[in-house]
């Protein structure tokens, strides 16, 4: 009897009609992404980048794409096309010419986010680019993007522009080695000198140990892609200048000038071989194409 009653009460509980109607769901604001009336700029980006390369560019402000603590501003609309055109010239076209459209579409980062200002760090330095997961690349300081054919261009502006290409080449390098790894011998060239303290080291000091930039000292992978990026952006002559500019003497870490230079040369040849054997790309040809475009933009 007791159990029957208990069972009965349970049945009552379950039998109540609970209509779980979630209401009209076809009109949730913002569902499916932001919408706005397309402008000529939106159409240009769609026709010139999204259709041919499957690359999306976000220039309208969305704080959630950035560090939420940073004061930043959106890009000037008139800067968006020049920036993306330059990226197409300097980064996309040389790769497509060397490795083909299929290669490029398959591996390129697909999502570019633009910020008008630089990202200011606590220590007074600024960040000009970041990337996430081989897919999203954030470019800063778009509002100060000046190339030599623009009014108001000063030679000093070239640093920002080169830095932007540096970020893109760097991130694309990551995608490549994350797809097919570079030879393990690369990690032995400067073994023991990688450090989390890289941000307190100058590029010049890093070079004396056989690293192309201070950031190269952060990790093997960073070293590899910094090599790719620096060699492409600076060109062959620029890279030679970096290697030859290492001063005589022994670095505080005990690396002699000749040793540092030999290490950079060895890394160079490993990068070139990697591109050749893995991706069937003639690196020096890619390098000269890339640098030629940069020269045309800036000098």
């Amino acid at each position: 009897m007791k159990y029957l009653l208990l069972l009965l009460s349970l049945c009552f509980l379950l039998s109540c009609s609970k209509s779980n109607d979630i209401g009209v769901i076809d009109d949730i604001p913002g569902l499916g992404g932001d919408t706005w009336i397309k402008s000529p700029l939106d159409r240009w980006l769609h026709d010139s980048l999204t259709i041919p390369y499957n690359v999306a560019v976000k220039y309208k402000w969305d704080q959630f794409e950035f560090d939420l603590t940073k004061t930043l501003v959106p890009p000037k609309e008139e800067k968006v096309i020049p920036v993306m055109q330059a990226i197409r010239k300097v980064w996309m076209n040389p790769y497509i010419d060397e490795a083909g459209m299929l290669f490029f579409k398959k591996y390129c980062p697909k999502f570019f986010i633009l910020s008008g200002s630089a990202s200011w760090n606590e220590n007074g330095t600024i960040t000009l680019g970041t990337a996430e997961g081989g897919r999203k690349v954030v470019l800063y300081l778009v509002n100060d993007f000046f190339t030599r054919d623009m009014p108001g261009y000063q030679p000093g502006d070239s640093g920002n522009v080169k830095q932007m290409f540096h970020v893109i080449e760097h991130e694309f390098g990551h995608i490549l080695h994350q797809t097919i790894m570079y030879p393990v011998e690369f990690k032995r060239i400067c073994a023991g000198l990688y450090t989390a303290n890289w941000n307190n080291i100058t590029d010049a000091a890093a070079r004396r140990d056989g690293f192309v930039t201070a950031y190269s000292m952060a990790a093997f992978d960073e070293d590899f892609v910094e090599m790719i990026s620096m060699m492409l952006v600076e060109g062959k002559a620029g890279f030679d200048k970096i290697v030859n500019g290492i001063p005589p003497g022994v670095s505080p870490n005990g690396v002699a000038q000749a040793e540092a230079q030999a290490r950079l040369r060895k890394k160079e040849s490993m990068v070139v071989n990697y591109f050749k054997t893995v991706w069937h790309i003639d690196f020096y040809s890619l390098q000269s194409r890339t640098r030629k475009e940069i020269d045309q933009l800036l000098y």
Partner: protein, 433 residues
Amino acid sequence: MKTNLFCLILVLITGLYACKKELDPVFDKSPDARINETLRQYQAVLTGAPYGWKALVYPAGVPNSVFSFFFRFNDSNRVQMFSDLDGTSSVKMRESSWRLKSLQQPSLLFDTYSYLHVLCDPDAGNNGGSYGQGLGSDFEFAINSLHGDTIELTGRFHSSKALLVKATQQDMDNYYQHRMNRDIDSVSAILTYFRRLTAGNAKYDIRISQNLHLMNFTWVYKGKAQTFTTGYYYTPDGIRLSPAFNDSTSVISSIDNIRWSNGQLTCSVNGSAATIGETVRPLALDVNAPQRWYKYALDRGRYWGSDEGFHVNGADDAFHIRSLPDFFQLVFWPQAQGAGVDFDMLGFVLKVGDARPTLSYGPAYTQPDFTSDGRAVFSDIGLYGKLPPDKTPVLRSRAVMANPQGFYLIQVGPVAYDMVSASDGKSWISWSF
């Protein structure tokens, strides 16, 4: 039996509760439907104003500051804009993008760069704010309320306040036909350190910061010095103060009909003629400031420093001391040769390479004479050190110091003083510790 009774009650209670549960909604529509409706309403109001909107933005990073804007929104997410940031933005229309979006609240977003973003730009070179912060203003706003012709906004990032008021045709024409009066900016052509606003019998010393749209009043009320800082924005007549300035006897909410003529600004305040012009002597003087300034450095065995030297007749670094070889800083060092030795120096500090900066040459003085009316008068006792090949910057700085009337000292910060010539008020130097 007891248990059975308990079970029976349980059955009754569950039976009672196991009814159809219909939650009676408080609202007649779903949250989504209501948000969409609100956004549509805001969209209609914003784009429906035939002559656009006047806006005031109060950047959160600069207390009291205010900037005015004009917005004209259209249905294609485009907004035409003017602003009183500077001469260009007052007359050159700039178009950018805007959007309404339901974030945590319905929000008005200006999502590509416009005049509004200049205030937020972390590159202080664009707005005179601080690097990494700008003026701490906003370009994404939550819509707080909509009452009649007014929309109240709060910035989503820095919580800056902003106010949108429906414009009249007159307001719109004033912008598109370039009728903004910016003559107040000529105040920088008044060469004295102190600038006097004279309106009838009332007199005020004013300081204007053009970058930040701030105006500071100093006046004397019942024998006591008073000070008040407010923001201002430009109008077709002159400037409007926000909030208005109340000196305890009258209220000034705007300065109108501003015109530059004969080395001063003529204007009207509350309908009566007024002027802003030169004044050598301030209305209220901190008579103890010179001794306080001197003693502060003396007690610490250190010195006051200036990176630019003297400002004279409108020119910063008038004597080009920064072009002296290895120049680092100009200092005033009481008892530079050690405590108790009456030997003060206006010292030129040089820095050679990575070496420590060294006081290298300059004129020396005995302890200044502190007058009862608040001046410091310096008595020159000669030039010391190995002078540079071109002595002009040193000799001209020395000549200004020799002013027999001496200098007023104005404390402008906890450890910052401006030292202003008492004879004409047109030469000064900014000291910091």
